[in-house]
């Protein structure tokens, strides 16, 4: 072996069992698609717009799809395996591959024509402006 991962200095038998459990879980995870909460997403909002950020490391922006419909937004895509070249030996594959989909209901309707999405450094940033008709109207109270 060319490396070994450093484990906790307080190694106990229980750790061994836990590690084994982890190894077995990992074995089966590789055959399934992404876990349900991929990609991890943060959402911010104010009266004007909603900003959504997602962690999408190693995903080609071209294989990312964004669907906006009224107050719903759906992120879907696929992360392909990036095996360096033929003839290499894979010792560990923890980075999940496969297709993923996540949908969110937003607090108000957004203008799908004005949505801007950017991807940089493995972070997808989407700006979703509110539709004019859904903007709150301020009504001033007049005194007589």
């Amino acid at each position: 072996m060319f490396w070994s991962e450093l484990s906790s200095p307080t190694w106990t038998q229980l750790d061994g069992v836990r590690n084994l459990q982890g190894e077995i879980n990992r074995l089966f995870e590789n055959y399934a698609d992404f876990r349900e909460d991929f990609p991890p997403v943060n959402i911010w909002s104010n009266n004007e717009e909603i900003i959504l950020k997602a962690e999408v490391p190693g995903i080609d922006p071209k294989s990312l799809d964004l669907d906006v419909n009224g107050d719903q937004v759906k992120i879907s895509g696929e992360r392909k395996a990036d095996v360096p070249s033929e003839g290499v030996v894979c010792h560990r594959a923890e980075r999940e591959i496969g297709k993923f989909t996540r949908s969110f209901r937003l607090p108000y309707e957004v203008d799908s024509g004005k949505v801007i999405a950017k991807c940089s450094g493995g972070i997808l940033t989407v700006s979703l402006p509110r539709v004019e008709s859904a903007k709150p109207k301020k009504i001033s109270v007049q005194s007589e």
Binding site: S4, W44, V56, P84, R92, E94, I123
Partner: protein, 134 residues
């Protein structure tokens, strides 16, 4: 004060208590693929939101430590309405065997993925023995 202490302990728990924290951020273990090529070992680590300048790769006593901290700003004048992830530090250590050359390590960051290439040591490659004539 007591809260700070508690946080510190939590971080040490994640990290195995081996390193001193200088930032009050959670530590994550980056998902890593490991490949072996003919002449090198390739580590592929997911590090979304980490800038090139915030990545530290060190080798000490044949322990390779990769760390990178996320520097993502929250949008101003917005309220957070959903939280699926928080900023933190990605850190992972590997004990290198004598079969790799720890002075020949290259790293490249692209699209939130860090690639670290470690060359194999001469002795791990097949050796040629010269036959001398008497």
């Amino acid at each position: 004060m007591s809260l700070f202490k508690k946080n510190e302990n939590q971080i040490e728990k994640v990290d195995g208590g081996k390193t001193e924290m200088t930032r009050d951020l959670p530590v994550f273990v980056p998902a890593t693929d490991i490949y072996e090529k003919e002449d090198s070992i390739l580590l592929v680590c997911d590090m979304p939101g980490v800038n090139e300048k915030n990545i530290d790769i060190t080798v000490e006593n044949r322990i390779l430590t990769i760390s990178g901290h996320q520097e993502m700003q929250s949008p101003e004048k917005h309220d957070q309405i959903y939280r699926g992830f928080i900023n933190g530090i990605f850190r992972r250590s590997f004990q290198l065997s004598s079969d790799v050359d720890d002075s020949k390590i290259n790293a490249k960051l692209a699209n939130g993925v860090l690639n670290v290439v470690i060359s194999k040591a001469e002795k791990a490659m097949p050796k040629k023995i010269k036959v001398e004539t008497a």
